[in-house]
Amino acid sequence: MADAVGGILLAGITLYAVLGGADFGGGLWDLLAGTAQRGQAPRALIDETITPVWEANHVWLVFDLVIFWTAFPHAFTAVMNTLALPLWLSAAGIVLRGAGFAFRKEVTRLALQRVTGAVFAFSSLLTPFFMGTVIGAIATGAVRDDASHASLAAWTSPTALLAGLLFVTACGYLAAVYLTSEAARRGERQLRKYFLRRAQAAAIVAGALSLATLVALHGANPGLFGHLTGRALPLMILAGVCGLAVLALLTAGRTKGTRVVAALGVSAVVWGWGVAQYPVLLPGTPVTLTNSGAPQATYGALVVVFGAAIVLLGPSFALLFSLQHRRMLR
């Protein structure tokens, strides 16, 4: 039962990464879109694709936090205590990103649009970066199970910082791939080319950062590295193949199917991490899925809640995304 809830948490993280992550990536490209004049078209596409969905995508984070603290309270509080600073900064990023994005729509003066837009775009980097350092810190075994105080060293190791950069780039990669497809679907050739080049660049940088993080992890946590290249190897290979396939398709000028393949690649990384760590929650400690402070009944209840969530949310998300796809929401 605890394994099932671990799977639910990993699924929630995957969905936050491929849906919420792309919304943060949109902020990255908004930031890099240049002057008001030059960046108008890409920013308009970014804005239109994020607008109706970002709040729903964001809820995955809240959902993941709730599952984490309910099913694994001991690991949760250890993470919260040790990594308080990057978590506070992630929360600040969430507040500023959401506020900046929502406010930019409602202001009409260019100066105010610039300010709110800059807040949105800059803070879109904060959350993925610091979330990346949090995951990096956990993976390197820097979170002690009895931690009661914050540690700066835990999340400023080379591995954790590389993971932060990797998260930012991966978000940008997903966003650029999605935006390329969207521009292609709308017959916007200029924009398609614009985002295609950025998707290619992000794919290369993300690939390089993935390898660098893996190398750094080899030094920081050989055990986890061993599992990543052992039992999680098929997933690692899948992630690599997906990345290369997207790169090849884009270079060949094809956009069809790239969205799904890119999302699959990122999901493979998340699940690879999960499989490599299983059943340990905090590497380097004895805290596993089954002994982190929740009774059996809690797992059962969470599985029921997740079942209800699938029944209720599946069709609802399908409706939202299909209406957005048909451009009914603007």
């Binding site: 920013r43 309270p73 509080t77 929360a91 202001v107 809690t298 409706l319």
Partner: protein, 471 residues
């Protein structure tokens, strides 16, 4: 720093120096979010009511109101979503002791809430951005799930809060939770009165805030159908709910006298367990007596048990360390909440009388002044009630099971995060209000189109846009 305050700080440090700033930060962020939560719970229903009237009666004014309110709702839901997320982080960052021990129990209603938060966000995406392309009634129905999930989500969050007041539905051996009954956790003893009390509060806050905006317009001479209709769609439902809220509140107070007698004793200034307890209206308790309060003999006993001889438990039933701090704050907050409730009831009765006699809204300026202030009054009442329930539970975070001090983080630096968050929330609150006012100004200028493109040179529109081209 004086020697005295240094000693106080030292003493606080021994008992965990972060608990005071942690409580201050939770109070700031939750006090801010709770207003947005109320609007998030009930504004969709008010917007849907306007849209319903618009569709049913072919009333263009109502439709226009619904469209504009839905733009406001977009801003408020976004700010509510992010400030709510901050609270999720704070559960772990500020209260690791609580989450470590009871996360597996109180997390379950939060999990249910997560599902409704999802539904709210998904259908808000459809409803808010579907005005242009979805046909009338289809669009209306796409908003109904937002209103329903607002209520069900609120029930889930209140389930957690009421569980902290009346914990149950689990067994504990030492520090370990050994079993959980999710049903009993969710529908705990206090949930039965806290849920309706808070949800009615959300509807009253929202209805009166909406009414307040248009009453202020009427006071400024904007006496047109648009303003009267905007006022009525907010005011009428809120005024109808007010007497029900007073009934629920009265029931809740009696339940608290039974379930959390020390909280009740502090609310009502009952130092000693006794019969023939007097009711104090106003007044400050200090040095064992009440200053400047109005004393009504026997009334408190009468309210608790419908007889002047009813025994009421005083705070002397527990040792001083287990009593809430600053009883006068609790008592005055309670009085303010009740007082505001009755003032709002009077405003509603005035409107009802005028409608019964003359089939119109009151013309008297005082009524519109009351209407303009009703939103603020409802918010003040709601915040006061929240202070009563939270401060009144102290020193416990989980009633009689865990103290707030034991729950608080031991990480230093909460004072820093508190300072930063006060600055950030001040800016966020000011920006939200400024943007809503800007929207109102733009609407009065007759421009309803939202900006088409972020950052870009604007599409040619009259009014405000012209000045922008010059700059």
């Amino acid at each position: 720093m004086s020697l005295g305050s240094g000693v106080v700080l030292l003493a606080a440090g021994q008992m965990n120096g972060e608990v005071v700033p942690a409580r201050a930060q939770m109070a700031t962020t939750l006090g801010f979010h709770i207003i947005l939560a109320c609007l998030g719970i009930a504004l969709p229903s008010v917007v849907l009511l306007a849209e319903f009237i618009g569709l049913r009666r072919n009333d263009e004014t109502a439709t226009l109101l619904a469209r504009r309110w839905s733009q406001v709702m977009g801003v408020l839901l976004a700010v509510g979503a992010i400030t709510g997320t901050v609270l999720s982080f704070e559960m772990g960052l500020l209260w690791p002791g609580l989450m470590r021990r009871y996360g597996a129990v109180l997390g379950l209603p939060f999990g249910v809430e997560g599902v409704f938060f999802f539904l709210e966000a998904i259908f808000a995406g459809i409803y808010l951005w579907g005005w242009k392309r979805l046909p009338g009634w289809t669009h209306f129905w796409s908003g109904v799930p937002i209103a329903l999930s607002g209520i069900l989500g609120a029930m889930s969050v209140i389930a957690v809060n009421s569980w902290m007041n009346q914990p149950g539905g689990f067994t504990q051996r030492g520090a370990t939770i050994t079993s959980v009954n999710p049903w009993q956790v969710y529908f705990n003893h206090a949930a039965l009165y806290e849920m309706p009390h808070m949800i009615l509060a959300a509807y009253m806050v929202t209805g009166f805030v909406v009414a307040g905006v248009y009453a202020a317009g009427v006071l400024r001479g904007r006496r047109d159908r648009y303003h009267y209709e905007g006022f009525a769609i907010g005011f009428v439902p809120a005024a109808i709910l007010t007497p029900f809220q007073i009934f629920v509140g009265d029931t809740a107070a009696r339940a608290i006298a039974r379930d959390q007698p020390v909280k009740f004793a502090s609310m009502e200034y009952v130092p000693r367990t006794s019969r023939h307890v007097a009711e104090w209206i106003g007044g400050v308790y200090a040095n064992g007596r009440v200053y400047a309060g109005l004393k009504i003999p026997d009334l408190d006993s009468l309210l608790v048990g419908f007889s002047p001889g009813t025994k009421v438990t005083g705070w002397d039933s527990v040792p001083p360390a287990e009593r809430p701090p600053v009883v006068w704050l609790l008592h005055l907050c309670f009085d303010v909440m009740v007082g505001m409730g009755f003032l709002l009831l009077l405003a509603g009765l005035w409107a009802a009388w005028e409608w019964w006699r003359h089939r119109r809204l009151p013309k008297h300026r005082l009524f519109w002044l009351a209407g303009a202030l009703s939103g603020v009054a409802a918010i003040v009442a709601m915040e006061s009630g929240w202070v009563v329930t939270e401060v009144g539970r102290q020193p416990w975070v989980v009633y009689r099971l865990q103290t707030t001090t034991a729950a608080a983080t031991t990480n230093g630096g909460v004072l820093t995060s508190l300072t930063l968050i006060i600055v950030m929330y001040a800016v966020l609150g000011a920006a939200t209000i400024l943007i809503l006012r800007m929207l109102a100004r733009r609407w009065r200028a007759g421009a309803d189109q939202e900006t088409a493109v972020p950052y870009g040179p604007p599409p040619s529109l009259p009014g405000e846009r012209a000045s922008q081209a010059e700059s």
